[in-house]
C-alpha cells in the first residue's frame, strides 16, 4: 500500500510542470548567489578626508589608513560641509577630519585630535568602520611614539602584547561561514514549504475525499507524504554539498556521515511541521501564510544572520524552541570546526525530539472524517 502511495506522490510532483524545476533550480541558484549577496564583510569602506593641516604627519596618517585595505579614499574635501554632502550622496561612508595644527600640537603639546564621523544608518558598518579607523590611528600614534622615544632616549613603558588568533576560519571569510547555514536554510525551505502545500492542495482540489474513503491508515498516509520530501531533501542536500565543494572549495572538517545523520533527522522534523500546518489549513493561501510566518521567525531566530548570543535573554529562550537553530549550529560546527556527533549530542537529541513530536502531531491531527 505504502509503495503505491509513494509512487502517486512522486508522479504528482514530477508531472507538475513547475515543481521539479523549482526543487532543483532554486537551491542551485540560491547557493550560487546567496553567499555573495549575504556578505557582511566590512571591507572597502569609502572614506572622505578633510585635511586642514596638510603636514607631513597628516599625510603619513592618511597613507597609513588607505594602505590598510579596509578603506577606499573616494573623496577629498576642503571642509566638513562638503564632506557631509558626499555621505548624503552615498559616495562616502565615513569622514576623517584632521584639524589645523595637528602636527604642531602632536609635537609641542604631545597630544592631538582627529574627528571621525561615520554614517551609522547601518549600525554595524558605522560602528566597525569607526573602530577600525581609530585602531589604525592608535597604531599610528604608537609608531610615532616609538620613534619619539628612541630619539629622546626615554625609558620604555609596560606593554601587553596582544596576540589574536583566529581558529577554524583563518582567513575570516564570511562566505565560508554562510555556506553551511545557507544549505540548512535551503533544506528548510524545500522540505518545509512543499509538504505544507501538499495535503491542503488535496483538500482544495477535493482529491482528499478519495483517500478518506480508502482503507489507507492515517499513519501510512502521513508516512507516504513524508518519504518523498525526505528523498527530495536528500537530493537537494547532495547538490548543495557538491556546489559547496566545487564553487566554494568547502568540505566538512568533520565527518560527512555526522552531517548526513543530522540532516536526515532534521528533514523529517521540518516536513512533519509542514504537514501539521497543512492539516490545519483550509486553503493553500492560508497554509502558505502560516508557513511563511513560521519560516520567517525561524530563520530570523536561528542565528543565521546575527549571533544568538547578541539577543536579549527572552529571545535566546525562544531560540531553544527553534529546530533550525540546532541544525544551523550543527552544520556550522561540523563543516568548519570538525565537531563530532558526540560534541553535538544535545543538538542531535533536540532534533530527534522535534522529529518525533512533529510527526506524531501530524498523524494525530490528520482527520479522515470531516
Amino acid at each position: 500500500m505504502l509503495k503505491y502511495l509513494i509512487e502517486k506522490e512522486f508522479k504528482q510532483i514530477l508531472r507538475n510542470k513547475f515543481l521539479p524545476k523549482v526543487i532543483f533550480v532554486f537551491p542551485v541558484v540560491m547557493l550560487l548567489i546567496l553567499p555573495f549577496a549575504a556578505n557582511y564583510e566590512i571591507k572597502h569602506i569609502n572614506l572622505s578626508v578633510v585635511d586642514n593641516d596638510h603636514s607631513s604627519y597628516s599625510s603619513r596618517l592618511i597613507r597609513k589608513i588607505t594602505s590598510s585595505g579596509y578603506f577606499n579614499l573616494t573623496n577629498v574635501s576642503d571642509n566638513y560641509n562638503q564632506a557631509i554632502k558626499s555621505i548624503e550622496a552615498e559616495e562616502a561612508d565615513i569622514i576623517l577630519q584632521v584639524p589645523k595644527d595637528f602636527e604642531k600640537n602632536l609635537i609641542v603639546e604631545q597630544t592631538s585630535k582627529v574627528m571621525i564621523s561615520a554614517n551609522a544608518v547601518n549600525g554595524m558598518k558605522g560602528g566597525l568602520g569607526s573602530s577600525y579607523l581609530s585602531n589604525i590611528i592608535n597604531d599610528f600614534a604608537n609608531e610615532v611614539r616609538g620613534e619619539w622615544i628612541t630619539v629622546q632616549g626615554l625609558s620604555s613603558i609596560p606593554i601587553i602584547d596582544i596576540v589574536p588568533q583566529n581558529k577554524f576560519n583563518v582567513h575570516l571569510s564570511y562566505k565560508i561561514f554562510m555556506v553551511p547555514a545557507i544549505m540548512a536554510m535551503l533544506i528548510t525551505l524545500i522540505t518545509g514549504f512543499l509538504p505544507a502545500m501538499n495535503i491542503v492542495n488535496e483538500k482544495e482540489l477535493g482529491t482528499i475525499e478519495q483517500i478518506n474513503v480508502s482503507p489507507v491508515k492515517k499513519f501510512t498516509f502521513i508516512i507516504s507524504k513524508l518519504i518523498p520530501y525526505w528523498i527530495i531533501g536528500t537530493i537537494v542536500f547532495m547538490f548543495a554539498y557538491i556546489i559547496a565543494r566545487l564553487v566554494y572549495d568547502l568540505t566538512p572538517a568533520g565527518h560527512l556521515r555526522s552531517i548526513y545523520v543530522s540532516t536526515a533527522i532534521y528533514m523529517l522534523g521540518i516536513s512533519g511541521l509542514g504537514l501539521i500546518i497543512s492539516n490545519y489549513s483550509k486553503t493553500i493561501q492560508q497554509a502558505m501564510f502560516v508557513v511563511f510566518f513560521f519560516m520567517m521567525v525561524m530563520i530570523l531566530m536561528s542565528g543565521l544572520y546575527t549571533p544568538i548570543s547578541s539577543m536579549p535573554m527572552w529571545a535566546q529562550y525562544i531560540t531553544y524552541l527553534n529546530p533550525l537553530r540546532y541544525f544551523i549550529e550543527t552544520m556550522r560546527s561540523i563543516y568548519l570546526k570538525g565537531s563530532g556527533i558526540i560534541d553535538l549530542r544535545y543538538n542531535l537529541y533536540a532534533l530527534i525530539g522535534f522529529a518525533l513530536l512533529f510527526n506524531t502531531w501530524a498523524v494525530l491531527s490528520y482527520r479522515k472524517s470531516s
Binding site: A38, T111, I176, Q285, A315, E329
Partner: protein, 368 residues
C-alpha cells in the same frame, strides 16, 4: 458602479472571513518589528569566554575582572589545561579563550613586555573580529591604568561621531526593509494568489461571463489588499516611531507618497504573476522565490549592496524594493527632502508603467 460595489463586497468578505490569514497579515508586521527591533542585533553582549591563567597574579586577576564586568563578556569557564581549549570550541561552549602567559605581572612590570593570547572561534568572522577588538580595548584600558603615573608621550584622540543613528540601533536599518517586505508580501503575493485561485477552482469562468468588465474584476480583487497594505504601513510606522523610537526625520507626506507608489508597483507585479501561471502553488513559488527572496537579499535590507559583487549590484537595480527602501532610508532616517528621492520615484513610476502594460496585454479575457 453598483456592480463594482457588490463585487468589491464579495472580495472583502472573501478575505475578511478568513480570520486566520487576516490575523497573520495583521500580526506579522508587529512580530517582525519586535524581532528586528529587539531580538536581532549584532552588538556584542555577554559573549561567553574561557580563561587560561597559569599566573594567577594581580594583573591577570584585574584583567579577568574587568572583562567579566564589561557588558560584552561573560567569563564562564576557567580552564587548567590548555588541551581543553579545543574541546570547548568543538562543543561550542565559548567564543573566545584568553590565554595568559606565565609570570604575567612580573614580566609586565620588570621585563616591560608580556604576552596575552586571544583565541577566537572565527567561524563567524565578524563576531570574532568584534570580540577581539573589544577585548583589546579592555586590555588597553588596563595598560593605561598602569601608565597613569608616568605621562604618555604622543597620543592622538579620535573623536567619534555616529551620524543619523548614534546608538547604532539595528532598527534604523531594518524598518525600511520590513516595510518593503511586508508590502511586497501582501500586494504581490496575495493578489497573485487570489486571482490565480479563481482560475484554479474554475470560478474565473463564472466571473468572465458576468457583465462586469474584466479590468474591474481585477481592480476589485486588488482593493482589499490595498487597504490591508495601508493598515500595515500605518502599523509599521506607528510601531517604529512610538515603540522603537525611530524618528521620522523627513517629511511624512513624501514618505506616504513613496509608499503608495510602491504599493501600486507591488500590486501590478502581483497582477503580472497571475497572468503568467495557472496554479496557486506556482504563483506562490514565483512570488516567493522570484520576489521575496531577492527583496530580502538584494535590496539592501539585510546586507549592504555595496559589498556585493558587481553583477549582483547590477541585478539589484531591477528589484523594485531596492528603490523603495533607498527612498525610505533617505526620507525617514536621513531626513533628506524630496529632491533626494526624485531618482527613486521616477524609477518606480517607470516600473509601474512597464509592468502594468505587460500584464494588461497578457491578461486573457477569453477562456482557453
Amino acid at each position: 458602479m453598483k456592480q463594482f460595489r457588490s463585487f468589491l463586497q464579495k472580495e472583502l468578505y472573501h478575505i475578511f472571513r478568513d480570520v486566520r490569514t487576516i490575523m497573520i497579515l495583521l500580526v506579522m508586521p508587529v512580530i517582525q518589528m519586535i524581532l528586528f527591533g529587539y531580538a536581532i542585533s549584532t552588538e556584542v553582549k555577554n559573549a561567553k569566554i574561557a580563561v587560561y591563567d597559569p599566573s594567577k597574579d594581580i594583573a591577570t586577576r584585574r584583567i579577568i575582572e574587568q572583562m567579566d564586568n564589561s557588558k560584552s563578556f561573560d567569563v564562564v569557564e576557567y580552564i587548567v589545561n590548555p588541551n581543553e581549549i579545543e574541546k570547548l570550541f568543538l562543543e561550542g561552549k565559548v567564543k573566545m579563550v584568553m590565554v595568559f602567559g606565565e609570570n604575567f605581572n612580573e614580566n609586565l612590570l620588570h621585563g616591560n613586555k608580556t604576552q596575552l593570547q586571544l583565541i577566537t572561534d572565527a567561524t563567524d568572522a565578524n563576531f570574532a573580529t568584534s570580540i577581539s577588538n573589544y577585548a583589546s580595548g579592555i586590555i588597553a584600558n588596563y595598560q593605561m591604568e598602569l601608565m597613569q603615573q608616568n605621562k604618555i608621550p604622543i597620543t592622538i584622540q579620535p573623536e567619534i561621531r555616529l551620524l543619523y543613528n548614534p546608538q547604532m540601533k539595528g532598527a534604523y536599518n531594518f524598518v525600511p526593509g520590513v516595510l518593503g517586505l511586508i508590502l511586497m508580501l501582501i500586494c504581490a503575493m496575495m493578489t497573485s494568489m487570489a486571482i490565480v485561485r479563481e482560475k484554479e477552482l474554475g470560478t474565473m469562468e463564472v466571473l468572465l461571463v458576468s457583465p462586469m468588465k474584466p479590468l474591474l474584476i481585477i481592480i476589485a480583487k486588488a482593493v482589499p489588499y490595498f487597504l490591508l497594505s495601508c493598515i500595515n504601513l500605518a502599523t509599521v510606522l506607528f510601531l517604529s516611531y512610538f515603540v522603537l523610537n525611530v524618528p521620522i526625520a523627513g517629511s511624512l507626506f513624501w514618505l506616504i507618497v513613496v509608499s503608495m507608489l510602491f504599493i501600486f508597483l507591488s500590486l501590478s507585479l502581483g497582477l503580472l504573476v497571475s497572468t503568467l501561471v495557472d496554479t496557486q502553488i506556482a504563483a506562490m513559488l514565483i512570488s516567493g522565490m522570484v520576489f521575496m527572496m531577492p527583496v530580502m537579499l538584494l535590496s539592501g535590507m539585510m546586507f549592504p549592496i555595496e559589498n556585493m559583487p558587481v553583477f549582483l549590484q547590477i541585478i539589484s537595480h531591477i528589484i523594485p524594493a531596492r528603490w523603495y527602501i533607498s527612498a525610505v532610508k533617505d526620507l525617514m532616517i536621513k531626513g533628506l527632502g524630496f529632491s533626494a528621492v526624485v531618482e527613486e520615484i521616477s524609477v518606480m513610476l517607470l516600473m509601474i508603467g512597464v509592468i502594468l502594460s505587460i500584464s494588461l496585454i497578457k491578461f486573457k479575457v477569453r477562456l482557453d
